[in-house]
Symmetry: C2
Subunit: 351 residues, 2 copies
């Protein structure tokens, strides 16, 4: 199938014949083969998918690989700035990048709810194609299941990813040391608030779009640029605060960050006030924190700046040698507050 055929926006599975997903689309028979061919192969390209076989054969070369998985259950399926398909690709791509790996291959598992509009599935598949193209990964193998109406919620997606680690850095909490500088890749809180607003039918003066994006290119530029990266973490469930606490615990490091340096857009701040959320705990889908060696911090910041992007990376704090393994937030007026993990759930089904 040529790329021209793939770029068409009309669904190759005749919507008039099958306006909705049926249980039989997951039955392993003719209808399932038809669905795979007309939706998934049409969107992802048969040159990638090992269709008609139980798995893909890949050849990533020798050396270390990163392997990761995430399921996506976001509600609603479509939101300002993306949809569950975008999220399912970028989320797993970003997890690979956080291991310092160059994302290469994705698997995708769909759990469809009987009655899902076929057109929605097609839109999601196209989003996944576009996101995979942008991130430079191939969707090479997949699976489809269908559950009865009322046993799912439209569609749940799992992606697993394989990435190649072609450097000698050991990126993880265990490499964090006093003196490390913490760079935040942009403003926080957009994804969570965009989902919440869409779900609850809230509207603000300025539409809040999810920050959903791949961050692998930024990470690869840091590594290729010779930056001594000690730890990387994307700021998804639990937000910036929970991430910092996790790293502080795993690395037994004391982290000090300054509230005044953390960017939160005016409209996100306003929405958080109305909804009673703390932006430090709101999920992001295109933001990460990089712990880099002090001497590399300015160069890293320069590399992370993306031309014409709608967000700016910023140094927000550092790892100190002071006693007490915890995360300290210095507030705008100079007081100090110890950050803890969220105890339970702030926003369910954010990703």
């Amino acid at each position: 199938m040529s790329s021209d055929d793939r770029s068409g926006l009309s669904c190759p599975l005749p919507i008039s014949d099958y306006p909705h997903i049926l249980l039989a689309h997951g039955g392993g028979g003719r209808l399932m083969h038809n669905l795979i061919e007309k939706i998934f192969i049409a969107a992802f390209g048969e040159e990638n998918l090992e269709s008609g076989h139980d798995g893909a054969v890949i050849n990533p070369g020798s050396g270390r690989l990163a392997f990761t998985t995430d399921s996506y259950v976001v509600n609603p399926l479509f939101f300002p700035g993306g949809d569950i398909g975008t999220l399912a690709v970028y989320g797993t791509v970003n997890d690979l990048a956080m291991c310092g790996a160059r994302p290469k291959y994705l698997s995708v598992g769909f759990i469809l709810e009987e009655g899902l509009p076929t057109e929605s599935l097609w839109r999601i598949a196209l989003s996944m194609r576009d996101a995979a193209d942008e991130a430079g990964v191939k969707i090479v193998t997949g699976d489809t299941k269908v559950v009865e109406k009322g046993k799912g919620h439209g569609v749940y997606i799992n992606t697993a990813g394989i990435g190649v680690i072609d450097h000698d850095l050991n990126i993880g909490p265990e490499s964090v040391i006093p003196g490390d500088v913490i760079i935040l890749s942009g403003d926080i809180g957009r994804h969570g608030i965009a989902i919440m607003a869409e779900r609850e039918g809230l509207s603000f003066e300025t539409e809040i779009k999810s920050d959903c994006a791949q961050v692998a290119n930024s990470v690869m530029k840091l590594i290729d640029g010779g930056i001594e990266v000690h730890c990387l973490r994307d700021l998804t469930r639990g937000g910036l605060a929970t991430t910092m606490v996790e790293i502080s615990r795993s690395s037994e490091a004391r982290i000090e960050i300054k509230e005044s340096l953390i960017q939160v857009r005016e409209e996100v701040r306003g929405a958080c006030e109305i909804l009673g959320f703390d932006p430090l705990y709101v999920a992001n889908e295109g933001r990460f924190a990089a712990f880099v060696r002090e001497k590399d911090a300015e160069k890293a910041l320069e590399i992370m700046r993306v031309k014409a992007a709608d967000h700016e990376p910023c140094i927000i704090g550092k790892v100190t040698a002071a006693a007490g393994k915890m995360v300290i937030l210095k507030s705008m007026i100079g007081s100090e507050r110890i950050l803890d993990m969220l105890s339970g759930e702030q926003l369910p089904r954010i990703c």
Copy 2:
């Protein structure tokens, strides 16, 4: 954690505190960390899981890899002969084996429904541990999401797997040639009927247990034994008939199989008659078909025989050079029937 600690059967997450899974167990905060530590790390072992990080770093060596994924939505979660956890490990292990790969690493993604008994999750995690141990794979990375009551069905599991291909065979439908002999690894129809009986509360004189099992060891012995394996396929959704049709279509081969050579247990045959199912289309979870070079057939059969197993491999047919790319079933009385794929759904949510 020592293996003694792991072998305990009581759930390390105090059931009295959390008898059921809460939405907050998926929120990214303290409760989720607790769940991961007390259930998943306790069952799978912290030496494997890259806990507290976004992915696992693996080093499978150079050469070709197989990569595959499956989601499991079986209803009921527990059935005679296994549960959703057993299935989630063996199913993906078997898909890797069907690529001729030695299964090495698994990822696991849980979609939990709010209200799932914590004890059930613990039992499932233990089943996964035991199945992984038996198949020689490591569960190295995972993810947990929780959806609201009524948006799932207890638990859905996705596993993705990576296996190592350390031989030069090209195993797939494209390698099938006239003369190839088809070996079936045992009797068929047990898994589908076991699920159906459990779901519908049917009872038979002899309890029908699922055939759910890993077949990777058998496959590796074939390859290590120098058998020229042309194609492998497990007989899951759609059963033996759909599998044969798929291979016939992909390989443009004419397949002839003999009904009298296909083993179906008496009780399975009886249940199929009552329920109106054709055993040729019923799903199996521990059976596969091997297409091997004619001269290797007897040796392959010998290798596939497992001591003290409750099933016997058997040659059921061959690929012929006759005209007409289709699957022919020769019946007991000598008549011929063309097999086709199932059109829709025989048994939903069988795996």
